[in-house]
C-alpha cells in the first residue's frame, strides 16, 4: 500500500497534476507520524509513510493549503472524505485545487492501547497479517491488530469514500450497524445524576489546550469565539467546571450538523476525554428528530440546523432521554 501510494504520488508530481502531496511523514517510533507536504520524489522516498498508525485526518490542512495556491494532492481515508465534503460544502476549500486520492482503510491502531497491554520501550512496529510485531527494548511482542484498534475505528461508520479523484485499494461500504451510538445510548440510559458524574469526571480533566478544536475539521473559524476577547465569552483556561462545560457544549453545538464524526477530537485529547460522545449525541439526535443525516455524505445536502419542518419535535418533548 505504502509503496503504491508513493509511486502514485511521484507520478502525480511528475505529470504536473499537483505540485505537492499531503501525506504522513515518518517519526522515531513508527507510531509518531506527522502530517507533511512532499514536494519532490526525494522527499517522498525519504519520509513518506503509510501504515496502521497513519491516523491524522489531513483534510483540514487543505484550508490553509488552498490559500497558498498551486495544486495539492491529498491522501484521504474514507472517514476523512466526509470532512473533505463538509469543508467543500462550507466553501472552506476549493475542489479544483485539490486532487483527492482515496485510500482504503481497515482501521488505525491506537498506540495507547498497545501501551495498556504493558508494552513499553517501543523501538519498531511491523505489520504481519492480522497482527503487529512490536520490538521493544525489553524484547519483541506480538499483538492482534483488532485488540489495539482505535476506538473510533471499532465503531467505523463507513469504509466508503464520499469523494475521490482516484482510489488506491479496494472500496468499502457504508457500515449501517457500526454501533457508534452504543455508548451514547448507554449514557442516555443512565440517570441524570449518573450522567452528571460521568461527564464531570471526564470534563474536569480538560486542560483547555484546544487540541480538540484545532484538530477538528469542522472548527475552521478565522477566529474562535473563545479566542476573541470581543466576543464576551473568551476563555484561555477552563477556570472552573462551568467553563469546562461551556466550552465543550458550545463547541459541540457549533459543529452540530457539521461534525463528520471523524473522531480526531478524542484521538488528540491529551487527557483522553471521550469528546466524540458529545458530537455523536448531536448526530444521533439529528437522526432521531430530523431524519438520518451525516455531515459530509452529500455536500449539497441542507444541514439540519439550516432547515426545518413545520411539525418538528418540540424541545420539551425531546429534552429527555427518549423521544
Amino acid at each position: 500500500m505504502q509503496e503504491m501510494m508513493k509511486k502514485r504520488a511521484t507520478e502525480l508530481l511528475a505529470d504536473g497534476t499537483c505540485d505537492r502531496v499531503l501525506g504522513w511523514a515518518v517519526g522515531d517510533f513508527v507510531y509518531d507520524q506527522t502530517p507533511a507536504l512532499f514536494r519532490t520524489e526525494e522527499e517522498l522516498q525519504k519520509g513518506f509513510v503509510y501504515n496502521g498508525f497513519s491516523a491524522a485526518n489531513l483534510s483540514k490542512y487543505l484550508v490553509k493549503e488552498c490559500r497558498a495556491g498551486g495544486k495539492i494532492a491529498v491522501f484521504l481515508k474514507p472517514c476523512d472524505t466526509y470532512s473533505f465534503n463538509q469543508l467543500m460544502a462550507e466553501h472552506r476549500i476549493k475542489r479544483e485545487m485539490i486532487y483527492v486520492i482515496g485510500i482504503a482503510c481497515d482501521g488505525k491502531a491506537d498506540v495507547e492501547k498497545l501501551k495498556e497491554q504493558g508494552i513499553d520501550g517501543i523501538t519498531d512496529i511491523k505489520e504481519s497479517g492480522d497482527s503487529y510485531v512490536v520490538s521493544t527494548i525489553y524484547g519483541d511482542k506480538t499483538v492482534k491488530k483488532a485488540e489495539v484498534l482505535a476506538e473510533r475505528c471499532v465503531a467505523c461508520k463507513s469504509r466508503k469514500h464520499m469523494v475521490y479523484d482516484e482510489l488506491i485499494g479496494e472500496e468499502g461500504e457504508v457500515i449501517a450497524d457500526s454501533g457508534r451510538f452504543d455508548m451514547v445510548e448507554k449514557l442516555e440510559a443512565m440517570t441524570p445524576d449518573e450522567r452528571y458524574l460521568f461527564w464531570r469526571g471526564e470534563l474536569s480533566r480538560c486542560i483547555r489546550c484546544n487540541a480538540c478544536r484545532n484538530v477538528c475539521p469542522a472548527c475552521t473559524c478565522e477566529q474562535c469565539i473563545f479566542d476573541n476577547p470581543r466576543s464576551g465569552v473568551s476563555q484561555k483556561a477552563a477556570a472552573n467546571s462551568f467553563e469546562e462545560n461551556m466550552f465543550h457544549i458550545i463547541r459541540a453545538f457549533h459543529v452540530a450538523g457539521r461534525c463528520t464524526d471523524c473522531g480526531e477530537c478524542s484521538r488528540v485529547c491529551p487527557e483522553n476525554i471521550p469528546l466524540h460522545l458529545l458530537n455523536r449525541k448531536f448526530i444521533k439526535d439529528v437522526n432521531t428528530f430530523y431524519g438520518d443525516y451525516q455531515a459530509g455524505e452529500d455536500p449539497a445536502a441542507k444541514p439540519p440546523l439550516g432547515r426545518y419542518e413545520k411539525n418538528d419535535i418540540e424541545p420539551g418533548e425531546a429534552g429527555g432521554v427518549k423521544a
Binding site: 461551556m246 453545538f253 452540530a256 448531536f282 419535535i313 418540540e314 425531546a318 429534552g319
Partner: protein, 145 residues
C-alpha cells in the same frame, strides 16, 4: 425554630418582541400575576436566542431559563421560531445528556393574545424551578457573592 429563608429562584425569560413580549404585556394589563423571580429580556425573535445566552444566564446565577416565541407558523419573520425550535431542542437535549436538570430549561410558544398563557406558563415554570432548588450543575462560583 429557626426561620429558613424561602428559596427564590432566578429566572430569565427570553421573549420575542412580536408575540411573547406582547403576551407578557397583555398578562400585565390583565393583571395576571406571576412571580417577580421571572425577569424578561426582549429579543426581536426567538431565533435571536443564542445557546451562549442561556449558558451565560446559568453562569451568572440563573436557576431557570425559558424562551418564549410566536407559535410555529406565526413567526413575524416567517421562519425564525422554526430554527429556534431546532436549536433549543438540540441544546436542551445536550444539557440533559450532561446530567443537567432538563426542567431548568423550557420553550413555550405564546402569542400576543395569550396573556393568560404567559402568566400560567411563568407560574408553572417558577414553581418547577423552585422545586429543583438552586442551580448547582451549571453554576460559576466566581459569580456568587
Amino acid at each position: 425554630m429557626q426561620d429558613v429563608k424561602e428559596f427564590r429562584p432566578k429566572i430569565v425569560a427570553f421573549c420575542c418582541n412580536w408575540c411573547s413580549y406582547a403576551g407578557a404585556d397583555l398578562a400585565g394589563s390583565s393583571r395576571l400575576a406571576y412571580p417577580a423571580d421571572v425577569k424578561i429580556i426582549r429579543v426581536p425573535c426567538s431565533c435571536r436566542v443564542n445557546p451562549l445566552f442561556i449558558l451565560r444566564a446559568f453562569q451568572r446565577g440563573a436557576d431557570g431559563v425559558i424562551m418564549a416565541g410566536c407559535h410555529p407558523g406565526d413567526c413575524h419573520y416567517t421562519s425564525g421560531n422554526y430554527f429556534a425550535r431546532r436549536r433549543m431542542t438540540l441544546l436542551f437535549s445536550m444539557l440533559d445528556y450532561l446530567g443537567i436538570e432538563r426542567e431548568r430549561t423550557r420553550v413555550e410558544w405564546i402569542s400576543a393574545a395569550e396573556g393568560a398563557k404567559f402568566s400560567k406558563t411563568m407560574n408553572e415554570f417558577a414553581a418547577t424551578v423552585a422545586a429543583l432548588g438552586e442551580n448547582k450543575r451549571l453554576e460559576d462560583l466566581r459569580c456568587k457573592k
